[in-house]
Each structure stands twice: as C-alpha cells, then as structure tokens.
Amino acid sequence: MEALFDFWAAYGSTVTFAMANAFFALSTYAVLSTGVLSFTTVTFAAIGGFLAAQMVGQFGLHVYLAFLIAGIGGGLGAAVVASLFLRLESHWMALASLALVLITRVTALNTPGLTGGVNGLVVPVTISQFELFVLLTVTTLVFYRLHNSWYGLASRAVREDAAVASTMGISPYRIQFTAFLISGAVGGLGGAALAFTLQFISPDTYFIGIAFTMIASTVLGGSFHWFGPIVGALIFTALPAAMQAVVPAVEDVAKGVVLILIMVFLPRGLIDPRAIGLRRAAKRRRDIEHEAEKTHA
C-alpha cells in the first residue's frame, strides 16, 4: 500500500497531464477522422485556456462555468477558422493551420490585456483529478456515441474518399465543418483543463510543443478509433517520465526513438480497428478453407 502511495505521489501529476493531453488528442482526432490534418487545436486551446483563466480570475465565475465558456469559445473560434480554412486543399490546410499556431502565440504575446502578455497569467483555482477524469469520461462518451452514429459513418466515408462520399449524398464540407466545431469545443476544454492544471499559463504554453504532442499522441494511439487518441496521450505523456526512470542520460533521444519505432512498425497506430477486422476475417477464411478441405477429403 505504501508503495502505491509513493507511486501516486511520483506519477500522479503525469496522469493529470495525460488527461489534459487526451483532450487535445481527441480534438485533433475529431478533424483527422474526417481526413483533415490540422494543428488548429492549439489555437482553440489558447482561446479556451485564456478565456477560462480570465473568467475565473477577473469575474470570479465557478470553474465548471469557466469550462463551459471555454468550450463555447473554442467552438466559436473553430467556426471562424473552419469557414476560412476549409476552402484550402489538404496540404495547404496543414500549412495554414501550422501558420495559425505561430500567429496565435504572437497575438497572445501582444495582447497583454487579455492574456498577460510575456508575463503570463496566474490561475487562482485548480480542479481535482477526479473532476478532470469525469469531464474526460463525458467527452469520451460523446465521441463513442458519435462514432456509432450516422455522423461517424459519414465522417469515415469522407475520410476514405470525399468524392465517393459526396456521390452518396454526404456533403464533405458540412461533415468537416461539424468536425471542426467538435474539435474547437474539445480543444477549448483541453485548454481550460491545462490552465487549471498548470495554474500558470503564458503564450508559450500554447505553442508548437502542444501541436506536436497532440498530433503524435493521436497518430501513435491510432487515428481510426476514438480510443486511440486517449491511449496515445497516456503513452506519450508517460514516455518522458518512464524514459527518465530507465535511461535518464538520453531521455529525449529515447523518446524520439520510441516514437519512430512505433511509427515504422505500427504505422496505423496502436488501436487499429482495421487490423482487428482483418485478423478476424483471416481467421474466418482459414476456418472456411479448413471446412472445405474436410469436405473434399
């Protein structure tokens, strides 16, 4: 029991950060599952984070209300971004979203009235791990429901082939726009979660680091199922801590090597519904052949 407490004292914060990163990964997954590679989650997270921090710090709102406002703020930001970006082709979209991340930081630096500028903002309240866990569970439930809904089916169709999807009466633009709204709301929640976890945010909090963490988490965990990003975020957040315990001297190098190895050997991610499906199909085929051989004999 004592050992368990020690473990929790050492790695409890890692779990909290993993949960915050899971929001970002889910937000990235939301758009990626409709075939859009976008780093704009960082922008939505910045909107949500600063909005929540200001709501609590300036207006003394309750944390839950701040989360709600952060989600709505992220969603509104996403609506603006989506209406501008969805006209671009996929490669340009990726570049544009990366540019937006750079602009987000510069904007945050130069609007000290809203974001505290270079000095950042101190967030006076925090949330418990349990509250964060409940919020993540609810968000995950939404993704689970979406995955099995018409929207989930339509988004998979758009991802596989947008042209084919549109011949079947699915509007890729509307699906991708919806995806952006979901991504914005979840990204805003994640931004607020990070703000309440760190209790200090600055323009550098929401920058390239998060962009690459979330995209790596999503792809590592698997971008074809809602469970993938959560697993990915957990692994990607725990990896540095684990590497520090095993090989402290070359911690960063080991992290990079693990990332490359997973990608090279499991390019579709850890959670891959197709691989499971293929395995089942192969087994069924073997069984049928087996049966056939028996009847021939």
Partner: protein, 295 residues
C-alpha cells in the same frame, strides 16, 4: 538615407538566409510530399559540423562551409532512409512521415544540445571573412555579401536544374505522382536520395552561414530558420524556388524595417499575418502553379 540602405541590405541578407533554408524545406515538401519537422535540425547540425571541423582541423573558411553543407546533406539522407523510407512502401501519406520527423526533431535537437554543451557557440572572428567592404558611402560586412550571393547562385542553379535538366524533370515527375514516374522509367529511389541530399545541403548552407553571421551555433539556430523559412516557402509557393527566394528576401526586409521603424514587438506578428493572408487569399503563393494537387 544611409541608414535606410544599410537596413535594406541587412534585411536582404537576413531574408537570404530564410530563403536558402526555405528552398530546402520546399524541395522536400513538393517532391517528397513530406512536412519535415526535423528540417531545422539539418541547419543546426550543418553549423555544428562546420564549427567543429574548423576547431579541430583549422581548415580555411570555404572548406568549413563545404563540410557543413555536406554534413547537412548526409544527415538528410540518413533521416530519409531511416525514418521515411519504411513508410513510403506502406503509402502512409503525409501523416506518418510527419510523426517520424517529429521523432527525429526531438533526437537531433537533443543531440545538438549535447554537442554544443547546451550553450550557443560562435565561430572565432579569424575563421571567416569579417572585414567591411566599402561600396560608395556604405560599409557592408563581407559575410552579408557572401550570403546574398549564395542565395542568388543557389536559386539560379536549382531553378535551372529543376526546370531544364532531365534529372529535374524526373524530380517534378516524382513530386507529381511517383507511381506514374516509376512506370515511365524514373528511378524514384535515386531521385528521392538526390532530393533529400539537395534539401539538406541547401538548408545546411543556410545553417552554416547563419551560424557564422549571427554568432549562434546551437539548436535554436535551426528553430529560428525553420519558422521563418516555412513562412518564405508558403508565401513564395513551395513548388517554385524563385518564389521562395523572393518571398524570403521580402520577409527579411520587412522584418528588419518593422523592427527599425515601427516596433520590435510587431516583428514576428507582421511576418505571420502576411503568411496567413497569403494562405487564405492566394494559397499557391507568389509563383506557385495553379493546378497543384496531390492525391
């Protein structure tokens, strides 16, 4: 007036570095379809190689630069063959390569930090031409002239190579559709290696020259070049090196002028706003062709 012209040349030299780096980044993006997060590390490592070659062997300036450039190219080939080649055969598209490039970015930056002892090194003043050149009333550092000329030479050479030479046609073919290129007899493996080397070498040149000119040899060198080089590529249109060159110079001049005449706080803001404006209004960039598409 003299200040204006001097700042113009400063900006031009700074922008030339961005453009040189951007040409390499753009080559990989347009030919190999990879958004390479590790590209900045090539520039850092080229500068580090150049620095240590000079420190250990005391070679003359051109040899140190050449070693750095060659080092950048070799590093690019290594990263490509270890990180990107296994994904190519599985048709993973841009996403897989992006993740492995993030992995390499982490590794190479961390190693670069160890190689420079986690500080910023500077080339000793005796290692490069550091005199001033008198042009009329102006005094221009020799390094700035070297940087400006390097960009002009590289842009013309690479543009001619891509647009006129057979090997350039093969590169464009692989960029457009590598399967179709292979069917018509292009050895895409060779083209990939060549493109990776050229991209690493060009960005490496930007790294070495930038490391000398700004007295900063560390992993931050590549990161700085990466952000601005990326902007130059997008504004210029990434399938045309001329566009990257012009856009890079433009961004450098704007940056220096904004810092000089408006405020240093807006320096990056103006660059990135311009970047976003271009992406939304004219996504194919200054010189980019209209029919760019990649399945």
């Amino acid at each position: 007036m003299q200040l204006f012209v001097e700042q113009l040349i400063n900006g031009w030299a700074l922008g030339s570095l961005y453009a040189l780096f951007g040409i390499g980044f753009g080559l990989v993006f347009s030919t190999l379809g990879i958004l390479n997060a590790a590209h900045g590390a090539y520039a850092s490592w080229a500068a580090i190689v150049g620095y240590y070659v000079f420190q250990w062997y005391g070679v003359p300036f051109p040899v140190a630069v050449l070693c750095g450039v060659f080092g950048g190219g070799i590093l690019a080939i290594l990263v490509d063959q270890i990180g990107f080649q296994p994904l190519r055969s599985r048709r993973m598209g841009m996403l897989g390569a992006l993740i492995t490039s993030i992995g390499f970015w982490i590794i190479l930056d961390s190693l670069a930090g160890s190689a420079t002892g986690h500080q910023s090194l500077a080339f000793p003043a005796s290692s490069y031409p550091n005199a001033m050149v008198q042009i009329g009333p102006l005094r221009v550092p020799q390094m700035q002239i070297i940087i400006i000329l390097s960009l002009i030479i590289c842009t013309i050479a690479i543009h001619l190579l891509i647009q006129r030479a057979r090997i350039g046609a093969a590169m464009r073919a692989v960029g457009w559709n590598d399967v179709a290129a292979a069917i018509s007899g292009v050895n895409s493996r060779v083209i990939i290696l060549l493109t990776a080397f050229m991209a690493g070498a060009t960005s490496g040149l930007a790294g070495v020259l930038g490391g000398i000119a700004t007295s900063n040899v560390s992993y931050t060198l590549g990161e700085g070049l990466m952000l601005k080089g990326f902007a130059a590529v997008v504004v210029g249109g990434f399938n045309d090196v001329r566009g990257t060159a012009v856009a890079g110079i433009m961004l450098g001049i704007i940056e220096v002028f904004v810092a000089q005449y408006i405020s240093t706080a807006f320096r990056d803001g103006v660059t990135y706003t311009l970047l976003l404006a271009f992406l939304i209004i004219r996504p194919r960039g200054l010189f980019g062709s209209a029919n760019f598409s990649r399945a």
